[in-house]
């Protein structure tokens, strides 16, 4: 009986995995089936148009790339800095515990809420308008909790003996963090950051909230320019009456997926590369 139960559990788990994989495969196949025929260099290098044959994702692609770079610039220093403070400097008091609980809670707040905050704070109050910078700041807020938590975990995973050895040799706290803790935690920190950024890449709700635009036929040239992004362009095409736009949406999804895969691959490569140098 014991064994049967164990076997049944195993099959349930296999079933769950297969269902998830099957649905994912179905989704991918559907996007590929509809969109692959529309992928071309022209598609990547054209602006949106009311003629599906002429429409492309140039402005959305560049908008997304700009957005990711700015978001990374804002969120990574802030997030990693906060993680270092919380792990290495802050005393374990009730205050830090409350802060940490709050950060964990923030990681679960729906993204649309960040959109509303971004609209009030960055677009209206700071008068940044519906610019790339406002979008990047909103996205940075959205992923900061994830960055802080994953960085904290990576820093926590560095054995205490490393720190103690460093202190024993007369190193200051700053030297210890700079030369030992951070390099050792780097693979984990970077992986967490890249995964957080790829989440931001696929978000549409907060951007729609702060009013990223739907039709834009130019690429941004400064952080204060208006912009559109891939998820928004896909959303717009998917909601259009003409059938061809559905195929364009599928093609857009493929491009977005390729970008996400590339970012995740970068995370894996970085982790593997750094891990080779760390031997305790």
């Amino acid at each position: 009986m014991r064994k049967i139960k164990g076997l049944a559990f195993e099959y349930i788990c296999i079933g769950a995995t297969l269902t998830a994989l099957f649905l994912l495969a179905l989704l991918l196949w559907d996007a590929w089936d509809k969109g692959a025929g529309w992928l071309s260099w022209r598609f990547l290098d054209s602006f949106p148009s009311r003629f599906p044959e002429q429409a492309g994702i140039k402005s959305a692609l560049w908008g997304s790339i700009w957005l990711m770079l700015l978001t990374a610039l804002i969120s990574i220093p802030l997030g990693v800095g906060a993680a270092i403070y919380l792990e290495e400097y802050a005393d374990r008091t009730w205050l830090t515990r409350i802060i940490e609980i709050n950060i964990s809670n923030l990681a679960g707040v729906p993204s649309i809420v960040y959109g509303i905050l971004g609209l009030a704070l960055f677009v209206r109050w700071m008068m940044l308008g519906r610019s790339l910078l406002a979008g990047a700041l909103t996205m940075a807020l959205l992923i900061l909790p994830i960055i802080i938590i994953s960085s904290q975990e990576a820093i926590r995973a560095v054995p205490n003996s490393i720190r103690e050895a460093s202190y024993a040799l007369g190193a200051t706290k700053w030297q210890t963090v700079k030369f030992h803790v951070l390099p050792a935690a780097m693979p984990g920190v970077l992986t967490g950051n890249i995964l957080a950024l790829s989440r931001a890449m696929g978000e549409a709700a907060p951007l729609i909230m702060i009013g990223a635009l739907t039709f834009i036929a130019f690429t941004p040239s400064s952080p204060l320019d208006p912009f559109t992004a891939l998820p928004i362009q896909i959303f717009n095409w998917a909601s259009r009456p003409k059938a061809e736009f559905q195929y364009l949406a599928a093609a857009g999804i493929l491009v977005l997926l390729a970008l996400l895969l590339a970012m995740n691959a970068a995370a894996i490569i970085i982790r593997n590369k750094y891990q080779k140098y760390i031997k305790w």
Partner: protein, 320 residues
């Protein structure tokens, strides 16, 4: 490390494939490129023109923006979709130059604009007409009243056969097709017929693709459906129009009845509101003029009905 290699190869293969496959879809481009305006721009225009508002007007603004940017590559046009109300909020806060609207500005919005000393010009740009259609083999239905349509389309409707609508109609199952819930057509039809936006029965064949709806009605004797008048114009032989009785006798939709407003309640004018202050900028003024000249040629292309020329002339006269 092996897994990583496989992953890399997969990505590379994907990129390569994406580069190779450039098969053009079979769809034939039937639309005609609009002709360039006769007057050439004297000097190069530049600047950014911000539009926002109704999703119904969006296709027109997008088309006009697209063509305008071909003529004036240095002008940057942005078009957002916030809905008519959301558009006016931004417009009256001074955030946009032009607001797309599928209804006239409300009094509350007027006072909001006045509070921020935003003055504006209103231009009618097109008519949005909806037609109710049946199969040409349908010999019984010629006219329908708004009340009958409401009975068919309201939520929890009990209408299952044509007989349920009018007792002397055949006892055959009525096959309903209509716009899906994402479309502005759906919002508009439900508001005009049922009386409340987005309130509709849900057991009908829905598609966001009006051409699919045309096919569905053309292939089914007992079908009844609704969509933009422009799609009827493109498929007159396959469909039969229903004259709508809004209280003053049945009226068939046509360019004429949509224009003069007798085709009621399924036609409405579409507007753009242009901030007066922005009209001092040459690029905005030129864009507004372009909207009322070349833009009117594009109206039909994106599925709406043109206004009479005098409406555009009157608008243009306010831009001089």
């Amino acid at each position: 490390m092996n897994r990583l290699k496989i992953l890399l190869i997969l990505i590379l293969a994907g990129v390569l494939l994406a580069g190779c496959v450039s098969k053009q879809p079979a769809g034939v481009q039937t639309t005609v490129q609009p002709t360039a305006p006769t007057e050439q721009p004297i000097k190069a225009l530049s600047g950014t023109i911000k539009l926002d508002g109704s999703s119904t007007v969006f296709p027109i603004s997008e088309a006009v923006g697209e063509e305008f940017q071909k003529l004036h590559p240095d002008v940057r046009i942005t078009v957002g979709i916030s809905g008519t109300g959301g558009g006016f909020k931004k417009f009256c806060a001074g955030e946009t130059d032009i607001s797309d609207a599928s209804r006239p500005i409300k009094d509350s919005e007027k006072s909001l604009c006045a509070n921020n000393s935003i003055t504006y010009e209103e231009f009618k740009v097109a008519f949005d007409g909806l037609s109710v259609m049946v199969n040409p083999q349908n010999t019984w239905a010629e006219t329908m009243t708004v009340a009958e349509l409401k009975k068919i389309w309201e939520p929890n409707s009990t209408v299952k056969t044509w007989k349920d609508v009018r007792p002397n109609w055949p006892n055959e199952k009525i096959i309903l097709v209509g716009a899906d819930t994402d479309s502005g057509t759906f919002d508009y039809f439900t508001e005009a017929i049922v009386g409340k936006e987005k309130s509709s029965r849900s057991d009908y064949t829905a598609s966001a693709d009006d051409n699919m709806l045309v096919q569905a009605i053309a292939g089914e004797k007992n079908a009844l459906g609704y969509f933009g008048y422009a799609y009827y114009v493109e498929n007159p032989g396959k469909l039969k129009l229903i004259a709508i009785d809004g209280g003053k006798g049945p009226v068939l939709p046509s360019e004429q009845t949509i224009l003069d407003g007798t085709y009621n309640p399924l036609s409405r004018p579409l507007f753009i509101y242009v901030k007066k202050e922005s009209l001092n900028r040459p690029e905005v003024k030129e864009f507004a003029k372009y909207y009322l000249t070349t833009g009117k040629e594009l109206v039909h292309q994106v599925g709406y009905v043109r206004m009479t020329d005098s409406v555009y002339e009157e608008g243009l006269s306010r831009l001089r």
